[in-house]
């Protein structure tokens, strides 16, 4: 479903295949979209660094030919901060997930937004801890079943994109693994924008999330994303007009693009 749109295959370590991702996983789509965007920027494996924390999403740098750091749980952004501030000429991209970014790494996340440090963070939000077998995360929707919310999640989730906007990031957008072209464009916009960029990519995890929440097939999850994603313009119009926002629906599109003072930008 990703299609072969560009030169992303040049960026993959073929000697690391096969990868660890489950059949139907959405992470591969996001990795391809990211590499496609990086390739379109004209960046090279010599001047691009991928950095990640722990979790399924964070395994991505291991499949990419550039210099890369697969770090500790939640800490990818401060590692990336050290790389970027020491070598502002390198392009630094962080792969993370909802648990890595919003739970254990939440404080680093908001402070990186505040500093507006010149990193692009691609967060694969699958609503769950996939690698450890489907535990609830700070992004698990209310009522959803996970191994640690067996009676339905009773905590409200974080809205990662809005959090990044409030904390000061220069570029924020959200798409899903259904919206391949839009996601690729959004990542490219994040790479182009000086300062901190967050691209939240909602992805399907049929194994850890779908199975327990009546979305067993990958296709069913992708359809769920398609049906519940509301374009930002429409979402805002509905809000302004006081129309009821359908339960389970979420906005996709660009949350913010601005030019606040940023750190680590090559002068």
């Amino acid at each position: 479903m990703t299609g072969n749109q560009g030169g992303f295959q040049d960026w993959l370590r073929e000697d690391r295949l096969p990868h660890i991702y489950c059949t139907g996983c959405g992470n591969g789509t996001v990795i391809n979209c990211t590499l496609d965007a990086v390739d379109k920027m004209g960046w090279t494996p010599e001047n691009t660094v991928f950095i990640s924390g722990i979790g399924c999403s964070s395994r991505a740098p291991g499949y990419i030919v550039t210099d890369s750091l697969h770090t500790t749980h939640g800490r990818a952004i401060p590692f990336a901060t050290g790389v970027k501030l020491s070598r502002p000429d390198l392009h630094v991209v962080v792969f993370t997930g909802d648990g890595d970014l919003a739970a254990i790494g939440g404080n680093h996340f908001i402070h990186a937004c505040r500093r507006n440090i010149d990193l692009t963070v691609v967060c694969m939000n699958n609503f769950i801890y996939g690698m450890t077998g489907g535990q609830g995360s700070p992004c698990t929707p209310m009522g959803a079943i996970s191994t640690t919310t067996p009676y339905g999640c009773n905590e409200p989730p974080f809205d990662l994109a809005s959090l990044a906007v409030a904390a000061g990031a220069n570029y924020v957008s959200r798409w899903t693994s259904y919206h391949v072209r839009e996601l690729t464009k959004a990542i490219r916009a994040g790479l182009e924008t000086p300062g901190f960029s967050l691209i939240e990519a909602v992805v399907q995890c049929p194994t850890g999330y779908g199975r327990k929440n009546r979305l067993r097939e990958a296709g069913a999850m992708v359809a769920w994303m398609r049906d519940n994603a509301v374009l930002m313009q429409k979402w805002r119009r509905m809000q302004e007009e006081g129309l009821p926002l359908p339960s389970g629906a979420f906005p996709v599109g660009e949350f913010v693009r601005r030019n606040l003072p940023a750190m680590g930008v090559l002068e």
Partner: protein
């Protein structure tokens, strides 16, 4: 000059060009000086949001080939432990200064201690080895911090400056050398596997941005750097090498002095208590007391104990309840007696003299 100032200046002289830190008493002066000085030498100072982030930023900076450091004290040191393990596993050179204060927990923020000696050695999970130095004067704060960078680069291992509030905050005159000898990090030969080591167990360093395309992971990895986390042989080979490259080099990196090797009663000391022992020996002025004073404390120079051929007892004054004494006791058949002092005061020389007299 103050001890903490000398530490920062020694680091800068050794080419440190990245400091990531978080304020904590009694180490804060190091961060403050770095904040002022780094921009003037073309380096980077960043105040991170906590100590987990501080050490993470230091490790990230080190992978660009930059000499990088952080400074902290007990509570912050505890927070750094996981990422210190990451630096050990990924063979990332970096320098961590711990200006020790009374613990556990928040303890005594403004009083000296040496309670983190075992934590620096064993604080991270898994089997590890690290290097630690311990200065006993403001002059040594400068010299040993500079030396820590060379050791960290030479062995590609986190290197600790284990100092304390007394040395960190006291002021003494120091002689700043015209230049500090710097041995640059040995680069990886292009075409070599990034985690394949030669005889000394230390691989060349593939700094980011040079086209090496190195994948660095805290997972157990093979010589290519690729995760291989279920193969017992890969794990045993890697972790054994990480430990052996340090433990096997303990003679090469040893740094200690021996006073009165024929003495029957011998003090072993490092850090601030060195000053008490030296005063006691000068006051006694009869050569009957020996002294082994350590500048490199980890790896512990086991062979140095054998220099005291007539020793009947080793007395070990420490600002803790007997941490390094346990290590010394493990390495000799001569009895090792801990001489603890906790609460922030340094051992009185008269107390040490009375103690030694009791054994003579």
């Amino acid at each position: 000059m103050q001890g903490n100032t000398a530490c920062a200046e020694g680091a800068l002289a050794a080419g440190c060009r990245f400091f990531g830190g978080y304020p904590i008493t009694p180490s804060t002066e190091i961060a403050e000086l770095m904040a002022r000085r780094m921009p003037k030498v073309g380096g980077t100072f960043v105040q991170m949001e906590d100590e987990l982030a501080s050490i993470a930023s230091v490790i990230g900076a080190s992978w660009t080939g930059t000499r990088a450091m952080t400074a902290t004290s007990g509570p912050g040191f505890s927070l750094m432990m996981e990422n210190i393990g990451y630096a050990i596993m990924t063979e990332t050179p970096c320098v961590i200064v711990d200006v020790q204060r009374g613990g556990p927990s928040t303890g005594q923020p403004t009083r000296a201690a040496q309670g983190d000696m075992m934590q620096c050695r064993f604080g991270s999970h898994g089997d590890t080895s690290i290097i630690a130095v311990s200065p006993a004067s403001v002059q040594e704060m400068y010299e040993l911090t500079a030396k820590a960078f060379d050791l960290a680069d030479r062995y590609r291992v986190p290197t600790f400056v284990m100092t304390d509030e007394i040395i960190g905050h006291m002021r003494e005159r120091i002689a700043i050398p015209d230049a500090v000898g710097i041995t640059p990090r040995r680069p990886l030969e292009q075409g070599s596997l990034p985690f394949a080591a030669g005889e000394d167990g230390v691989p060349g360093f593939p700094a980011f941005g040079n086209g090496y395309g190195v994948h660095v992971t805290g997972l157990t990895h093979d010589e290519r750097g690729y995760p291989s986390s279920t193969d017992p042989h890969v794990h045993a080979r890697l972790v054994s090498r990480l430990v052996e490259k340090v433990e096997g080099a303990r003679r090469e990196m040893a740094d200690f002095t021996v006073t009165n090797p024929d003495a029957e009663v011998v003090f072993i000391s490092y850090g601030a208590p060195v000053r008490s022992v030296e005063q006691a020996i000068r006051d006694m002025d009869d050569g009957r007391i020996g002294h082994l004073r350590l500048r490199v404390v980890w790896p512990f120079p086991d062979f140095a104990l054998a220099a005291f051929t007539s020793a009947r007892v080793f007395l070990m004054p420490e600002l803790n309840l007997g941490q390094m004494a346990r290590e010394a006791a493990r390495l000799t058949n001569v009895p090792v007696v801990p001489v603890p002092e906790i609460g922030g005061e340094l051992h009185l020389p008269d107390r040490l003299i009375a103690l030694a007299e009791g054994y003579l």
